[in-house]
Symmetry: C2
Subunit: 116 residues, 2 copies
């Protein structure tokens, strides 16, 4: 079993032995599930997709509420889950925070399920 990273490390940074490569431990399964749960939710998948579809690959909450049809507190809640999981990067600029996809994060989540 691998050494666990500090609890503060986003889970997307510490993943992933592919599940089909060897029988994973209970601890690894917990960590992988935490990462996949962050994206296994329709609104969060749409938010990731909408951010990726922006010309400059970043968006503020103000860009996202209308396309998903939800209020700012709900959208901010979903964005926080994605930031905490290490999927999104958040950068405060002036009044708004801008969200972008952490390079490699989705690839690492995908690698849990299927090796490259």
């Amino acid at each position: 079993m691998k050494t666990l990273q500090p609890a503060s490390a986003p889970v997307a940074e510490v993943c992933c032995t592919p599940v089909t490569q060897e029988a994973i431990s209970a601890e690894e399964a917990q960590r992988f599930a935490q990462l996949l749960k962050a994206v296994a939710e329709p609104t969060r998948l749409r938010l990731v997709s909408l951010i990726a579809a922006q010309d400059n690959k970043e968006a503020c909450v103000c860009d996202l509420t209308e396309p998903v049809g939800l209020g700012q507190p709900t959208v901010s809640h979903h964005l926080k889950i994605l930031v905490d999981a290490g999927i999104l990067h958040r950068e405060k600029r002036g009044v708004w925070a801008y969200y972008s996809i952490v390079p490699g994060a989705l690839e690492r989540a995908a690698a849990v399920l299927s090796p490259r």
Copy 2:
């Protein structure tokens, strides 16, 4: 938007435009989330991993209860969710049902998150 498959088609068979390729619709997001939720659970990840680690790449419930430390009804419940999502194939032989990973299913789930 693509034509939706009949509701009876396992979700792993009808996925996936990668979320980063274009802004996905609410319907696609629902379908993708359903597929990812099937695997975004620690016990189910371990079951998939244990089945993949078997010499003949299949296992019955009798092989799986002890390694995950759960009773047969609970393990059968998790296996059913994976079968319904199109991740596992179930084949009854004699007293036991044997479970194997549907070829390509995990790769299709991974492809939602990251194109090949």
